[in-house]
């Protein structure tokens, strides 16, 4: 068993198999329609977390504004759903209510499902890449980058609230009837949405694993820890960081897009400063530099939030804050590093044969330096 555990490829397929069974068999078989839909929502939030794990855990970029990209994806999807509900040439209900009853020109392309899907994937990625290049070339980093990204999230939310005629304002966009031709009221379609979310998340985790183990993944860690050294080796660190930031934005956007039909609403409250920070909390608690830490952390925190706030509505915020403080203070590598600490102890007894092959084991050590550098 320990031999199997050591072999990265075997471990990967065992992991994928377990995840697939849990996500595609156990969860749909045991959870009610309501709970399954809730889990689907958490999976969407976990997609954002996977991206934050890449950008923050491996790249050292404290992204406090992922709500922007989550919101971009979410609003683009919501626009398409509203237009589709209104029918060809129709006007979304809220527009006739608040505005002059005409669809603005920049909404029109989102009538096309293909355009919408392409835009959800490409647009936030492009924005993040350009923004990242501009910011990282000027060597904005650490707390300054965090503040900048957070300000973006605040500005984005304010913009959405201000443009009520075209964005629905504080209410956001809601009341969707269908999803690419499927009625959202049908439980079978809700289950389909869950499967789409689960499959997407699984693919994202596998993609990030590929990145972590690639030369790029090693380079990203190098940039995080010694940006100047990488520069003097002939690389442009801004490019390396912008790439990770763009991937994180893409994941957040897709998460936001799937969030919309699953939850049924997207509003400025889902994209502003507070949700942007909450995205981060799950990642920090789970373990930001590991592969699964951010995913499991995000799901666990969301799950705890919904179940605890059902019984103690006012208690959850304190609990979340307390947990965050405890983890950051005593376990900077997150809960995932508990296992690392234990494995490291075992590794001292039996010298590792191929630890270098496992970036998670090498990189995910709970170094206090990592938190100091990025936080």
């Amino acid at each position: 068993m320990s031999g199997l555990w050591r072999n990265p490829t075997a471990r990967l397929w065992v992991g994928v198999a377990i995840a697939a069974v849990v996500l595609f068999v156990v969860a749909p078989g045991t959870l009610s329609v309501f709970r399954l839909n809730l889990l689907a929502k958490f999976l969407c939030l976990a997609m954002v977390a996977v991206g934050i794990g890449l950008a923050w855990g491996r790249g050292g970029m404290l992204t406090l504004g992922q709500g922007v990209f989550f919101g971009l994806g979410g609003y683009m999807m919501a626009m398409h759903l509203k237009l589709a509900d209104a029918g060809p040439g129709g006007v979304p209900d809220f527009m006739s209510l608040y505005g002059d009853g005409t669809v603005p020109g920049w909404w029109e392309p989102f009538r096309s499902p293909v355009f919408t899907i392409v835009a959800i994937v490409v647009l936030p990625t492009l924005i993040a890449a350009l923004l990242g290049l501009a910011v990282f070339t000027r060597r904005v980093r650490g707390a300054y980058f965090a503040i900048l990204s957070q300000a973006l999230a605040a500005a984005f939310a304010i913009l959405l609230i201000g443009q009520q005629k075209v964005t629905g304002g504080t209410n956001g966009l809601n009341g969707f009837q269908g999803f690419f031709g499927f009625a959202l009221s049908d439980p079978a379609n809700k289950q389909m949405l869950y499967f789409i979310a689960a499959g997407t998340l699984l693919v994202m985790v596998l993609l990030v694993r590929l990145l972590y183990r690639s030369r790029y993944g090693e380079l990203l860690v190098a940039v995080r820890d010694q940006e100047n050294r990488v520069r003097f080796l002939g690389y442009n660190p801004a490019l390396v960081k912008a790439a990770a930031f763009a991937v994180a934005a893409c994941f957040a956007s897709i998460g936001g897009a799937l969030f919309v039909p699953i939850v049924g609403i997207i509003s400025p409250a889902d994209v502003g400063v507070v949700p942007s920070i909450v995205f981060l909390v799950g990642v920090a608690i789970g373990g930001r530099a590991t592969l699964l830490g951010p995913v499991l952390g995000a799901i666990a925190v969301s799950w705890a939030e919904s179940s605890l706030s059902e019984s103690f509505p006012s208690f959850w915020t304190y609990f979340q804050g307390g947990l965050f403080i405890v983890v950051v203070a005593f376990l900077p590598g997150g809960l995932a590093s508990l296992g690392q600490v234990w494995r490291k102890r075992r590794a001292v007894e039996a010298p590792p044969d191929d630890e270098a092959d496992d970036p998670a084991a090498v990189v995910a050590e709970p170094e206090p330096s990592t938190s100091g550098r990025s936080a």
Binding site: E218, A222, R229, R231, F232, L233, G234, E355, A356, V362
Partner: protein, 290 residues
């Protein structure tokens, strides 16, 4: 320097004779004609920070095959010159290497032009292994497709560099737990695989044992035969053993330049290093204290 060594690290295993200069030929192989007989040419270099002039009109020419040492008291501007060459500190004047004007270029472009440097405090990627460190150093020219794939095996130049700096047996060891001297060697190895033709080394033997210094010096001499090497160093014993030429800096200016013997005989150098009360000027015993 024992404090530098992490307890339980394989550092203790490392004895003498670990460096393998013979493997150097493989790393330095394939001399490109454009780099042949290249030299570093600095003219009227000036660097100032908020009004404080750190480097004040320095001229410096270092040719290939020279192992040039930069020495001088603290604040003489040695490291600042290296910073200016590599684009870390803004400077005026002219710095040319291999026909390329370096001033004003971003650091990573200067590195691509064949200039490599090390830092006073060994800066390696602590969480990555020796192999990963060297592989990254070798890879600045890699395309997207290579970057997005896993490393398969050990590239030849990386293997040779690892052999040269005697770290092959530690290939899978995280660089963070290497002994201080080994980190310095890893940095030299990174310069080799980076294919730097101008090597700027900031105190490369700081914290090394006598035997390690000896080996490092011999390695630098071998490299210096084919590359342009500039060493910033405080250790006078090391300088006397290995420098082929010396530039003495004082308060941002070149005070003296020449062979070790010439520089040691220069009364101005004696003045700066030993103060006015130097009855034993030029004796090796006194200048060691510098």
């Amino acid at each position: 320097m024992n404090a530098e060594k992490t307890p339980g690290s394989p550092a203790a295993i490392l004895g003498e004779g670990q460096l393998d200069p013979d493997a150097l030929e493989t790393v330095l192989a394939a001399p490109e004609s454009r780099f042949r007989h290249d030299y570093l040419e600095i003219r009227d270099l000036r660097v100032s920070f908020d009004g404080f002039v750190a480097v004040d009109g320095v001229d410096l020419t270092v040719t290939q095959g020279d192992l040039r040492f930069l020495i001088g008291p603290n604040g003489a501007g040695k490291t600042t010159i290296v910073d200016a060459i590599t684009g870390l500190a803004a400077a005026t004047g002219s710095v040319r290497f291999g026909g390329v004007d370096l001033l004003g270029k971003p650091s990573h472009r200067i590195a691509r032009a064949g200039v490599g440097r090390t830092f006073q405090t060994a800066s390696v990627f602590d969480e990555l292994t020796v192999l990963q460190n060297l592989d990254i150093a070798a890879g600045a020219g890699r395309g997207m497709r290579t970057l997005l794939r896993r490393r398969s095996g050990v590239p030849d130049d990386v293997a040779a560099a690892m052999e040269t700096v005697g770290l092959t047996h530690l290939a899978a060891t995280p660089a963070g737990i290497l002994a201080h001297g080994q980190k310095q060697w890893l940095e030299i190895g990174m310069l080799l695989v980076q294919d730097a033709h101008l090597l700027l080394l900031d105190e490369p033997v700081a914290g090394m044992s006598q035997a390690e210094r000896e080996e490092t010096g011999q390695l630098l001499q071998r490299i210096g035969e084919q590359r342009t090497v500039v060493v910033v160093e405080h250790d006078m014993e090391f300088l006397r053993s290995f420098a082929s030429s010396v530039t003495v800096l004082h308060q941002g200016r070149v005070l003296s330049e020449g062979t070790v013997a010439e520089v040691q005989a220069d009364p101005r150098v004696v003045e700066v290093y030993l103060g006015s009360g130097s009855a034993r000027a030029g004796s090796s015993g006194s200048s060691k204290e510098a």
